[in-house]
């Protein structure tokens, strides 16, 4: 292992510099609610990238409520939780609401373990939020 000018590392650099998305994320804004649907494993590899994608949108100033859809997330660790909690702080600072929907049992277990569910309510799906 000599020098670090790697193929994949270059890709990561590009991501940082040019905003190419490493994380597979879908953004959908319905009036003042932003829905962020992430696919894959929420760990340190994608944390920075996911954070900046969401923040860029939030900084536009048109988002009041944030829904994180974790339906297609198969793994989350504390780096992933950090991104979620960070967005929560941002949302409450502007008096917005935040929700998490669709967490699989293993992901929900970690959300509950960390106590995040006491700050950000968990729902099965987006429909369930509209019905409340």
């Amino acid at each position: 292992m000599e020098g670090v000018n790697p193929f994949l590392w270059k890709l990561l650099e590009e991501i940082r510099q040019e905003g190419i998305d490493l994380v597979d994320v879908e953004l959908k804004q319905v009036r003042n609610t932003l829905v962020v649907k992430v696919t894959g494993e929420l760990d340190m590899l994608i944390a920075d990238n996911l954070r900046s994608i969401i923040d860029e949108k939030l900084n536009e100033g048109t988002v009041r409520n944030l829904i994180i859809n974790l339906e297609k997330v198969t793994f989350v660790d504390s780096s992933g939780l950090g991104v979620i909690i960070g967005r929560y702080k941002k949302m409450t600072s502007t008096e917005g609401r935040m929700y998490i929907v669709g967490a699989k049992p293993n992901v929900e277990k970690i959300l509950r373990f960390s106590g995040i569910n006491k700050l950000i309510p968990l729902y099965k799906n987006e429909q369930e939020i509209i019905n409340i």
Partner: protein, 148 residues
């Protein structure tokens, strides 16, 4: 208590190796008599420990080395040792405190997760030389006996 199987890995401190490390260790420990949930928990603690080596130990420098050693014992237990040769930890007691993090963007939840999902967590470190995290857990033999 004898070691029945063993694997050691060594790889550079690149962020994409966190996912590789947890899935490889997961594949290896699948030979224990344990549930899929147990394996998910093992993958989580490996993810935490390896992320710590990269983020804290090497401060995101990708030229560091991470070493993982996994041992499986004949009483259906396992030990995972994760080493880095990074900057080390000055105050281990403080590092182990729930919610303590030296990085304001992080949650300080890594060691708490390792502590909760494993039976034992032991951290040793020499500032300037590196850190060793030793994790162990044993699984009941109930299932195994039910099969026999």
């Amino acid at each position: 208590m004898n070691v029945t199987n063993f694997v050691s890995f060594e790889f550079p401190s690149l962020p994409q190796n966190v996912s590789f490390a947890r899935s490889s260790v997961g594949a290896f420990v699948a030979q224990l008599e344990c549930t899929l949930d147990d394996i998910e928990e093992i993958k989580l603690v490996v993810s935490e420990a390896v992320s710590n080596c990269i983020i804290h130990g090497y401060e995101n420098d990708t030229k560091g080395k991470v070493i993982i050693m996994v041992s499986i014992y004949d009483n259906n237990s396992l030990e995972i040792v994760i080493d880095d040769h990074g900057k080390g930890i000055e105050d281990i007691e403080q590092a182990l405190e729930p919610t303590y993090s030296s990085d304001s963007n992080r949650m300080g939840l890594g060691f708490t997760l390792m502590n909760s999902f494993m039976d034992e967590l032991e951290v040793t470190s020499i500032p300037g030389e590196g850190t060793r995290v030793r994790l162990s857990r044993s699984f009941s033999l109930a299932n195994r006996e039910a099969y026999a």
